[in-house]
């Protein structure tokens, strides 16, 4: 404490002194986010995978460009009886005995870059659109999980009492189901009728169904740690100070407690997106997720496995896209966690 300089250092006057003062303030004033960002920037592996993820997302976002400008088709258009020109020769997209064309790369000007599927649809176009669906489901489901977990966790941890008891019991019961089994059960229950809740109707083959299901099943894994953190945060001095200033419960919860959860929420979010994409593929593989003809990486792997002996690339390529996406999120999320809160214990189950 005694080393803290009380007066300006002698010898420096005017702008030079101000500059030095500003410099000192800069170092002292570095918040946890800035520090975290600096640590993250040093983690080259995490940055590499973060960039890879952005590239993957952008290429899926650009799916319509590839479909319109290069492949000249859509994700659902069948080309069963069409022909394409490869090296000046005409070829059937699907041969007369039902075998679809293999990968053409750029031989047909980008048409059927990865070949066709059984209905003569362009696999590359479906791969990109499927990626869009998988990513949308991943982000949508993670968003729902985060929202529900914050609401349940904060209410349970902040008010305690019987509300806490009810929420905790509910989470415990949900936690007793293996994630995939609960998701499959909900998928089967919702597949035929969809959801009709008052004015809201969601049909059974809508993409919103897997988003909702995956969003719900991961809630116990996030809401419990959030509740635990809220329990300890509510006893902190700054909450007491806010209460002394006359802040109400809602205000304390959302402007004092929730901001302090933000690093946990951020770390959970990246890992949730990764796990939601994985769970989507598993559900689609079992037939309880994305419904054909909608493409997703999961449905494409499922369709590919049926033909693995004649066309293994139909299994390998969508799987690789999925693994790269999930892996980059996992590595990046790991880096974010190490940078922000190295002691955080975050675990999700598959």
């Amino acid at each position: 404490m005694a080393t803290e300089p009380l007066a300006e250092p002698a010898g420096l006057q005017g702008p030079a002194a101000w500059e030095e003062e500003a410099e000192r303030d800069r170092i002292h004033g570095m918040g946890p986010w800035r520090l975290g960002l600096r640590r993250l920037r040093r983690n080259k592996v995490a940055i590499f995978f973060g960039v890879l993820f952005v590239v993957l997302v952008l290429s899926c976002v650009a799916a319509p460009i590839w479909a319109d400008r290069v492949a000249h088709t859509t994700w659902e258009e069948n080309h069963l009886s069409d022909t394409i020109t490869v090296d000046g020769k005409k070829k059937n997209v699907v041969s007369l005995d039902g075998v679809p064309i293999g990968p053409q790369y750029f031989k047909a000007d980008g048409k059927f870059f990865l070949g066709a599927d059984r209905n003569g649809r362009d696999v590359m176009v479906r791969l990109l659109y499927g990626g869009r669906n998988s990513l949308m489901i991943g982000f949508g489901a993670a968003f729902i999980t985060v929202l529900l977990s914050i609401i349940l966790g904060v209410i349970a941890g902040y008010f305690r009492g019987w509300g806490d008891g009810v929420i905790r019991a509910l989470l415990d019961v949900l936690w007793s189901f293996p994630v995939i089994i609960l998701a499959v059960a909900l998928g089967v229950a919702l597949a035929l009728g969809g959801i009709q809740l008052g004015p809201i109707t969601i049909s059974g083959d809508s993409l919103a169904i897997p988003v909702l299901i995956i969003g719900v099943v991961y809630v116990p894994y996030m809401a419990r740690p959030i509740r635990g953190q809220v329990l300890s945060l509510r006893e902190k001095e700054f909450v007491e100070a806010a209460r002394a200033q006359g802040a109400g419960s809602l205000r304390i919860m959302f402007s004092e407690v929730v901001p302090n959860l933000s690093s946990t929420i951020l770390v959970f979010f990246t890992l949730l997106v990764a796990n939601a994409i994985l769970l989507e593929s598993s559900l689609s593989f079992l037939g309880a997720g994305v419904r054909p003809p909608n493409p997703s990486w999961g449905t494409m792997i499922d369709e590919g496995i049926d033909r693995i002996a004649t066309a293994p690339h139909l299994t390998i390529v969508p799987g690789l896209m999925l693994v790269l996406t999930v892996l980059s999120l996992n590595v990046f999320g790991d880096g974010v966690r190490d940078a922000l809160d190295p002691r955080a214990k975050v675990r999700l189950e598959h």
Binding site: P178, V184, V323
Partner: protein
Amino acid sequence: MGRFIVRRIIQMIFVMFAVSVLTFLIFNVIPNGDPAVRMAGRHESASTIKAIRKEWGFDDPLPQQYVTTMRKVFTGDLKSQFTQLPVGEEIKKGIPRTFSLAIGAALLWMFVAVCFGLYSAVKAGKFADRFLTIIALVGISMPVFWIGALMNYYLGFKLGWFPNGGYVEFGTDPFGWFSHLILPWTALAILFIGFYSRVLRSNVLDTINEDYVRTARAKGLSERQIMVRHVLRNSMIPIITLWGLDFGAVIGGGAILTETVFDLQGVGQYAADAVGQLDVPPVLATTMFAAFFIVLLNAIVDIAYAYLDPRIRLQ
């Protein structure tokens, strides 16, 4: 100890009751129209739907419906809408297969994860550690049915090193049983190896700084003895808990994907086939079976802990 066990069992029964209510709610009450239509699955016709409504009592009040459903589940009266075979019998047929898969995979993933986790903790920060960390992350980023299908195709079908799916009874041909299960064990274990080696690595790194480890080193024990006797033993405790729970989850249907890809015809594949047909009764039964098993293993793990650590009993 006796009181603790009784209390824990009562608690377990309550959770099982809640689990059965939740399962019932998922299939009978979710707000999307007629549960009888849903139950009829892909075979809806006016007469089937009418018969189902009568059989399951969908016009009765909810508590009555709950009792009807549970009676069907527990008396073995539950039949598949698709094949008309009794669900209980089919699940019983699948259990030895699912157990074979789960036990072998659990032993494999525990053994490999301990080796990986310990090695990367000892080499913390070095190249080997970073490499193993990336490998572990790759392991948890792969869909099990994808890697399973590729293994089955390349190692089983193309190279012919392993049988291409299917299951052989241990009693009829122990060697065939083993060779049919090698690929499924590996595929299922990959994911868990990723998880466990990471958890073990961080546990070992925490334990290494404990006072008793320094004491052991000061006593002049060899590095190997310190690692195995003092560090590993204490780092294993949280892992063993996880192990119990994950084992329960795998038995209870966590292997649904692995079984389907390798055509093992266990409980998981039974559920998966029913999902494909939107056949509600088997899905309902396997969902409850899965959750019951996890609740049961949870209780067993807790009781084992209380036996090992008297402090827990007094809480």
